[in-house]
């Protein structure tokens, strides 16, 4: 919505201030009938719909000036308000039964209609989850697919960051208003996404995150992705909500299999076994659903890097997976100072990655 140009649009902006549920908003609009003037609103009998507190709040804010000011303040913050009655409202959400009536957006709106993949999972991945997420996300993002996720710790933030690093586009769906980004550690990440991608929330800026806002926002994540990829999640994880929504909406569900002893691979393994999700072991498995025939290769610069003999010694030890520093220093045959400096050089050139716990793996 660019500006308030009718009584109806004013009423919508008014409604967006209260973070009511979709169904309540719908009922309110129906109750108004065809007359959307504020005068009419005051005459309504709202007791059956909302509680007393909300009624008094709504009545006190039902004022043209307040609504105008609020709308201007949104614009001032660079926030676009999309309503389900707008042209720009994403097609992907339009058909859904519980689609949000309001979407607060900050960033590049065109991303909403691009081919996309939601990547979700645990907030505390293992090194395995970290590696596979980064690997898949970087290949997917390089091929122009928008990565959708939820700005949470773990898989979410890894996906956003990796995508941005690869120069890809990403959408973060928040479980709170823009003024109360949660977790606060990710405020800087959110700002970067607002600049280079898109931030989306169904909550008005002042709204704080609560326990139930996150499962609810998961439906938007599932809705905005053309598919949903689960890399690592426990059997009781909140990721289950996203999975259920994805199945409800008929989206493609992808999962990365993992060690059967690992608690955090339980959910992906489970949904692969039950046939709900497609098993993904490489990015190609996903591309076949996106009409991507020819994959773009890694950036050339990385291949140009000439490995010294010392660096080759380190890389060769990493060929069969992640190793810890002690193992490497013992087996590479290099003095420790030379090992350290060569490892950093490999890291800078993007060939190896350092993981928590003193572990090293090939990127």
């Amino acid at each position: 919505m660019d500006r308030i140009d009718s009584e109806f649009s004013r009423f919508l902006v008014f409604l967006s201030m209260f973070d009511n549920t979709y169904s309540k908003n719908k009922q309110l609009i129906e109750l108004m009938g065809n007359d959307f003037s504020l005068k009419h609103f005051f005459r309504l009998n709202l007791e059956k719909l909302v509680n007393d507190k909300t009624i008094s709040k709504m009545k006190s804010w039902a004022d043209e000036n307040i609504i105008e000011n609020y709308f201007d303040s949104l614009k001032g913050k660079g926030i676009t308000l999309l309503t389900s009655f707008d042209q720009e409202y994403p097609e992907k959400l339009k058909g859904l039964s519980d689609a949000p009536m309001f979407l607060f957006c900050k960033g590049d709106l065109s991303l909403l209609n691009r081919p996309s993949l939601a990547v979700v999972g645990t907030r505390k991945p293992t090194n395995y989850g970290r590696i596979v997420t980064e690997k898949l996300v970087s290949e997917i993002a390089r091929n122009g697919i928008v990565i959708v996720s939820g700005l949470a710790y773990g898989i979410d933030s890894i996906s956003h960051r990796k995508c941005l690093n690869e120069g890809g586009k990403t959408i973060a769906v928040l479980g709170s208003g823009f003024d109360n980004i949660y977790p606060t550690d990710h405020v800087a990440l959110a700002e970067q996404i607002a600049k280079e991608g898109l931030l989306v929330s169904e909550y008005s800026p002042k709204r704080r995150a609560t326990v139930y806002t996150f499962p609810v926002r998961n439906r938007i994540i599932a809705g905005l992705g053309d598919g949903v990829l689960i890399t690592e999640a426990g059997i009781k994880s909140g990721t289950i909500h996203t999975k259920d929504y994805a199945l409800d909406y008929g989206k493609n569900l992808f999962a990365v299999p993992g060690n059967i002893n690992s608690e955090l691979s339980a959910l992906p393994n489970d949904i692969i076994k039950s046939g709900q999700a497609e098993c993904v072991t490489e990015a190609k498995d996903i591309f076949s659903h996106y009409n991507i025939k020819k994959e773009k290769d890694r950036k050339e610069s990385k291949n140009n890097f000439q490995l010294s003999l010392e660096q080759q010694a380190i890389v060769s030890l990493l060929q069969d997976g992640m190793k810890d520093i002690d193992y490497l220093t013992k087996n590479c045959g290099l003095p420790i100072y030379s090992f350290n400096s060569n490892l950093t050089m490999l890291e800078i050139s993007g060939i190896v990655t350092r993981l928590p716990g003193g572990n090293i793996s090939l990127s």
Partner: protein, 511 residues
């Protein structure tokens, strides 16, 4: 009858002269001490009387008044007992005491007349020597610590009777002989804490070597049982040996705090202090009623090891800022403001998360991401700014524990450290600081020249590895030390690259 003898008081680590004036006059028997004396001195009355009586002398049944001059400085401790007793007895001509005012007396008296040891003899003697005092009478128990001071005559006594006999010429005493510090230091070397006993951990050992060579503070991050404490305890064994001047400095502080090993008399090795994380702020910084030195001053010229760093109270951690920067701590209390030296190397260790298993291969971590981030956030930016090196220490495997291979001895590492320190001594001969870690930003610009490759490396590192801006100067300082260890004039690319690998906490991968 009036008599006057000398004693010495202590304010912080500096001594000041005190005149003990005694007036014995006719009147009702009475004993009074004036001159801002604390309770310990007031009680000298009873000790002195019993000691005089039990040494076979007559305690004058007269009016005795003692003045501790200068009268406006607070005095504390029991070290004036001996001087008071001598002053009282010298009023009695029967005992033929001569030249009693030529000596400085220090010592506590016991009821049986024996002279007991006192705290702070070494700093007191050093100050007194500076002020030109030549002859001292001290308790025999303090002999060892006094024996490192040359150029003055020190007589050790075991009792009041011996003191009086010496003063009256009935017994001859000889000044103590000066000890050779180097000999004692070598005799005293402790071989149990040696890096050759640490299995694996090549990375951590190298980082500690660099920390020792450049005087850098270091933080170890690792799960419980990964050997962080063991590594830290071995750290002093690769630091350059204490010089005699440094040893005197350290001994002074330990002597005041009453922490000195009286058999040795001097601190021969770099102190290693590891206060528990429940330690109060005052016990760390120093202070209390008589402004005693705290743990960080006791760690002067040595190592302060803070295990479980984030578990210390926020306030305690933050008070380390000034000493880490200036090498001194100023303790201001209502009755005194005292500056103690606090020139230590900080070795801190912490777990990667509250449960300790984050990133571990064997065990699962049960902390929430928020908990982990709060745990790490306990270390504020300004403190992290003062820690040059962060490393991860991982669990040692069973195979490594059982392996018979002998690692490099501390003495070998120490040779390299000494070489690098020599380079720094030459570099900073016109400056105040003596090691790379203490360089100012101006000095960093002057001494940390990068070659072209090094510059490209640093630029790439900042872009690709997302290092924080505060890492920049730290990196250059550490790289300077690595280049010194390498014997290289300029900082080359490989030195920078190695330095970067010791900045783990600057990486963004923790969440």
């Amino acid at each position: 009858m009036l008599s006057k003898v000398k004693s010495f008081g202590l304010k912080g680590i500096e001594g000041f002269p005190i005149d003990v004036e005694t007036d014995v006059s006719n009147g009702l028997p009475h004993f009074e001490i004036v001159g801002l004396a604390d309770t310990a001195i007031k009680e000298a009355k009873e000790r002195v009387r019993s000691a005089i009586k039990n040494s076979g002398y007559e305690y004058p049944a007269k009016r005795i008044t003692i003045n501790l001059a200068p009268a406006d400085i607070k005095k504390e401790g029991a070290l004036y007992d001996l001087s008071i007793a001598v002053a009282i007895l010298s009023c009695n001509e029967e005992y033929k005491i001569k030249n009693e005012d030529k000596y400085v007396y220090v010592g506590e008296l016991s009821f049986d007349g024996s002279v007991k040891q006192v705290r702070g003899v070494l700093p007191l003697l050093i100050s007194a020597r500076k002020l030109g005092y030549k002859k001292f009478i001290i308790p025999i128990a303090n002999k060892e610590e006094a024996s490192f001071i040359d150029g003055i005559n020190i007589y050790c006594v075991k009792s009041l009777k011996q003191t009086i006999d010496f003063l009256s010429g009935e017994e001859e005493l000889f000044p103590i002989e000066c000890c050779d510090f180097k000999v004692l230091q070598n005799e005293d070397s402790d071989m149990s804490m040696d890096f050759c006993n640490v299995k694996g951990q090549a990375m951590a050992k190298r980082a500690l070597e660099i920390a020792a060579a450049g005087g850098h503070n270091l933080l170890m991050i690792g799960p419980p049982g990964s050997g962080k404490s063991m590594l830290a305890k071995c750290f002093p064994s690769i630091l350059p040996s204490l010089t005699f001047e440094e040893a005197l400095e350290v001994t002074k502080i330990h002597s005041i705090a009453g922490e000195l090993d009286l058999k040795k008399g001097i601190v021969t090795h770099r102190p290693f202090r590891s206060p528990h994380h429940t330690a109060s702020t005052v016990s760390l910084t120093g202070g209390g009623a008589n402004s005693k030195p705290g743990e960080i001053s006791l760690a002067d010229h040595g190592v302060l090891f803070l295990d479980e760093f984030p578990e210390y109270s926020r306030q305690t951690i933050e008070t380390l800022r000034q000493p880490l920067e200036d090498g001194v701590i100023t303790v201001a209390r209502s009755n005194a403001t005292i500056t103690y030296p606090a020139n230590f190397t900080l070795i801190a260790s912490m777990n990667p998360c509250p449960c300790g298993n984050y990133g571990s291969k064997e065990k699962e971590c049960h902390c929430s991401p928020g908990q982990i981030s709060r745990y790490l956030a306990k270390l504020s930016g300004p403190i992290m700014d003062r820690i040059d090196i962060h490393i991860e220490v991982d669990n040692v495997t069973y195979d490594q524990l059982k392996s018979d291979e002998r690692a490099e001895r501390s003495s070998e590492i120490k040779k390299r450290v000494n070489k690098a320190r020599a380079v720094q001594t030459e570099r900073f001969k016109n400056d105040k600081n003596f090691c790379n870690a203490k360089m100012s930003s101006y000095q960093v610009k002057k001494y940390c020249k990068l070659d072209a490759n090094g510059d490209i490396m640093l630029r790439n590192a900042f872009e690709k590895l997302k290092l924080s801006a505060r890492a920049h100067d730290r990196l250059l300082k550490v790289a300077r030390t690595i280049a010194d260890l390498d014997g290289s004039e300029n900082i080359e690319a490989q030195h920078i690259a190695e330095a970067i690998s010791y900045r783990q906490l600057d990486r963004k991968y923790w969440n």
